[in-house]
């Protein structure tokens, strides 16, 4: 932590404005970052954080506003000119070429000419100096996500940056990797490099940052000393209202009746970029929430598809609903049997953006209407039939619509998610399976969605919650298991597992999982 005497300002941005069409992403934002300071940028999704840092990095150009570095105004026209001004950035979605080696990836981004041999030794030197261990000759495709991030950081450090921008760096990391990253960032800051750190995770910001600027709807509403605040204050400032706590009473409702069971489920990946599921065993009882933790991209999508019935099992008895095999049942048949899935991707997967809400209701309701075995009335079954149901879903779930029967893409993320949830719950399922249900929705909507999950399990339903948000997993689940590289760990009651254990399992430490098992 930098000892601050008279903070020397490195970057000062004044009156930054940027709009996309009618949408104002940034409005009159002022921000100044001192030398050697870790400055956090906090805000909900869509608050304008990414837009602002993309302006600093030259990816976007502001409509109006000025940026000063070391008290002289600069014009950042491209990432190239940002790098020349000493600004480096690590993106949320990495920009590495998977088929190239680490060294080659770094070479591509370098502006100066350098011999390959010197490059290797420089990479080794940097990675030793900053404890960013990575083999420069390895292919990026063979690296874990955490290692890839290290490559990105090294790539920035090669340019001797004065300011390092990090866009949500921890969303893909295990708790252990996160604490390593924080150590590195703090050392970097104390060596004089400023860090602009974007996040919506409050604990992280309190732990790491010196200053925190809060954005809301494109405006900068406060800059606070991060050492003199708490998460509750930050959250309420960010959302602009008081946050109600969840009413958690669920563990009472847990029963011993098995609802859904997966037995030795294997599924080979369908594309090169997929994950094969290996010997998955899972059991969820009525009245409980089973949390499936894990970093995204470890087979959650594939697990979701096989649970929903979008892909079928190799054997019928690999999935049992109330001890009856359903592995060969299609997604429609499973809906009829009472298995509802709420996928991660709200538009284009759970809904069709350019269709109306009634049509989107029809999407998962159509099988209810046809009169049995009558081809003609089945053929003439059309979205008009879903008008009444869709209106009921909208009313019951407090979905805010700009007009009656709007297109799905006219709803905000949170409202669309409320609609999707309501649509599934209106089928009165026995088992509800959620994937990242609060991803990208504002805190208010997230709280109401989490409360719905708790209510579901309280009313005796079985709930599976697949999420990479560890806080959410621990807050809601009765039992927890961890997904890593297509395998699922043993399921443990939430009282018998710590965040550290989960972190080790997320990182795929097998010996650690043995340890966890023995603690049972």
């Amino acid at each position: 932590m930098a000892i601050k005497k008279e903070p020397e300002i490195l970057l000062k941005a004044s009156k930054i404005n940027k709009s996309f069409g009618n949408f104002i992403a940034n409005k009159d934002i002022d921000i100044s970052i001192a030398k050697g300071e870790i400055h956090a940028l906090l805000g909900e999704n869509g608050a304008g954080k990414s837009t602002l840092v993309k302006i600093f990095y030259g990816v976007l150009k502001p409509d109006t506003g000025t940026i000063e570095i070391n008290n002289s105004e600069v014009y950042i026209s491209s990432p190239n000119s940002a790098r020349k001004n000493g600004i480096g950035m690590v993106f949320q979605h990495f920009s590495l070429f998977p088929a190239l080696t680490v060294a080659e990836n770094i070479l591509i981004a370098l502006d100066k000419k350098i011999k390959f041999k010197d490059l290797i030794s420089e990479i080794s030197k940097l990675s030793k100096e900053w404890e960013l261990f990575v083999d420069p000759l390895k292919r990026v495709s063979e690296l874990s996500v955490g290692e890839q991030q290290r490559v990105e950081i090294i790539r920035c450090l090669m340019q001797n940056p004065k300011l390092l921008i990090m866009d949500e760096p921890t969303s893909v990391l295990t708790p252990q990797e996160i604490s390593n990253l924080f150590k590195i960032l703090k050392r970097l800051a104390s060596s004089g490099c400023s860090i602009l750190y974007i996040s919506h995770k409050l604990e992280e910001i309190i732990e790491l940052a010196d200053q925190v600027t809060i954005l809301k709807s494109g405006e900068s509403i406060a800059t606070i000393d991060a050492k003199k605040t708490n998460t509750k204050f930050l959250a309420e400032t960010m959302v602009g209202k008081e946050i109600t706590d969840l009413k958690k009473t669920n563990s009472i409702s847990v029963t011993k009746d098995t609802a859904l069971e997966l037995n030795g489920l294997n599924k080979d990946k369908e594309t090169d970029f997929g994950i094969s599921l290996k010997n998955i065993n899972l059991k969820v009882n009525y009245g409980e929430i089973l949390g499936v933790a894990g970093i995204a991209g470890n087979g959650q999508v594939e697990l979701m598809e096989i649970l929903s019935g979008e892909t079928l099992c190799e054997k019928d008895d690999q999935i049992l609903l109330e001890n009856k095999p359903v592995g060969f049942k299609s997604i429609t048949e499973r809906r009829q049997l009472g298995i509802e899935t709420i996928p991660e991707e709200r538009t284009l997967h759970a809904t069709v953006p350019n269709l109306t809400i009634a049509e989107n209701t029809f999407l998962t309701y159509f099988f209810k209407y046809p009169k049995a075995n009558d081809i003609i009335s089945n053929l003439l079954n059309n979205p008009h039939n879903s008008k009444i149901e869709s209106e009921k879903i909208i009313k019951d779930n407090d979905v805010r619509c700009p007009e009656t029967n709007p297109l799905a893409n006219q709803l905000s993320g949170g409202n669309l998610q409320k609609f999707i949830l309501g649509r599934s719950l209106a089928n009165n399922p026995k088992v509800a399976i959620f994937s990242q249900p609060t991803w990208g929705v504002d805190i208010g909507a997230a709280t109401s969605i989490r409360q719905k999950l708790l209510n579901l399990s309280n009313s005796g339903k079985a709930v599976i919650l697949i999420s990479q948000d560890l806080e959410e997993i621990f807050e809601l689940s009765d039992k927890i298991c961890v997904m890593n590289d297509g395998t699922l760990s043993k399921i443990l009651p939430v009282a018998q597992i710590t965040a550290e254990d989960v972190g080790l399992l997320m990182g795929g430490k097998l010996d650690a999982s043995n340890q966890v098992e023995t603690t049972e």
Binding site: I331, L348, H349, A350, T351, V352, N381, N382
Partner: protein
């Protein structure tokens, strides 16, 4: 610098103004080009756009010309709505015609007009079978349907050429590559109007349009199958989530569009040619792609688009005869029209913003 800024909502005004404006702009730029080429612009305008309406028999010829375009275009609409890119309607047209025609030639003395209906069914099967090749390759082996369907057009062209020069050549044709004439039962008659007689080439075949347009409108807007096609086209993952089988839909739309192309071929040849010859289609299968898009993948739109394109084609014929303007001008007008329509479509979704160069 020009930037395109997305509109909040599709502009209702532009939906109406767009197509009208694009027709005017097409006329304007067409005239400009002809002026530079040294033709009298007003006379060209008259010949290309108005002469087809100048006499009642000419007007009926517009419908005759539009008939195959609308039938094929309606089939293609189903494919394009499902994001299945059938570019080979021309080949399906030819193969439907060939199969139905070969069948008709097996019965040289059949007279009942009921025979036409059998030919239409066989034509449908012929076209559908030809479309089944890209369908099965796409669904089983993930082969791109654009390439397969397009290449099969050339196979079909050469195949019919071979058939009419070889196995089905009429020994009495003096060496011309022509089949024997169709039997009476395989000919679609012109419609006689009391007191007037025949109106140009207007034949009973165009009655199928009166059936096809409302049925296809109901199909895409009011049935579960039509809904499945729309969802698959807009969001394949959502189609999977809804439990719609992508492969079944893909195969269905390809078979339907191939079949309709075959039907169009049967009607066209039975009404206007009356025998098999190396060229039966004159590019209807390709032009119908433009018709489908001009009609905004909507049956009623396709009806109007078919009429517009047919008008320009006939007008270009007239212009060639009376002014010596090469017939390729049709292609020119189609191109300009499509260009402006697509521009109009962009303007429905985006507004243009001028900003100073920075």
């Amino acid at each position: 610098m020009i930037t395109f800024v997305p509109r909040d909502k599709v502009s209702k005004n532009w939906t109406i103004i767009g197509p009208i404006l694009s027709i005017f702009l097409t006329v304007f730029f067409g005239l400009l080009i002809f002026t530079f080429l040294g033709y009298n612009p007003l006379e060209t305008l008259y010949q290309v756009f108005l002469s087809p309406f100048s006499r009642i028999d000419r007007i009926s010829d517009i419908f005759v010309k539009a008939c195959p375009l609308v039938i094929v275009g309606t089939g293609l609409m189903l494919c394009f709505r499902a994001n299945v890119w059938n570019i080979g309607a021309e080949g399906q047209f030819i193969m439907g015609t060939l199969l139905a025609g070969s069948f008709a030639l097996l019965f040289p003395s059949v007279e009942t007009k009921f025979f036409i209906f059998i030919m239409i069914v066989i034509g449908f099967i012929g076209g559908a079978l030809w479309a089944f090749i890209p369908a099965i390759l796409k669904t089983k082996l993930n082969v791109n349907e654009i390439l397969v369907s397009l290449m099969l057009v050339y196979v079909a062209m050469l195949f019919i050429d071979f058939i009419v020069r070889g196995p089905l050549r009429d020994p009495m044709s003096f060496g011309f590559p022509l089949s024997k004439p169709y039997p009476d039962g395989a000919i679609i008659n012109k419609i006689p109007f009391p007191g007037i007689g025949y109106l140009g080439q207007l034949h009973y075949g165009i009655l199928i349009i009166l059936l096809l347009i409302p049925i296809s409108w109901l199909f895409v807007n009011k049935t579960l199958s039509g809904f499945k096609i729309n969802v698959l086209g807009s969001a394949p993952k959502a189609a999977k989530f809804a439990g719609f089988k992508q492969n079944t839909i893909t195969i269905t739309v390809l078979l339907l569009s191939g079949g309709l192309a075959g039907v169009a071929g049967v009607i066209e040849v039975s009404a206007n040619i009356g025998q098999l010859q190396p060229e039966v289609s004159f590019g209807y299968g390709f032009t119908a792609i433009i018709v489908a898009f001009l009609g905004r993948l909507n049956p009623i739109g396709i009806l109007f688009a078919g009429i517009i394109i047919a008008t320009v084609k006939l007008g270009a014929d007239n212009a060639q005869m009376s002014m010596g303007i090469p017939k390729v001008v049709t292609g020119l007008f189609e191109g300009i029209l499509l260009f402006f329509l697509l521009t109009g479509e962009t303007l429905q979704k985006y507004k243009i913003k001028w900003s100073k160069v920075t």
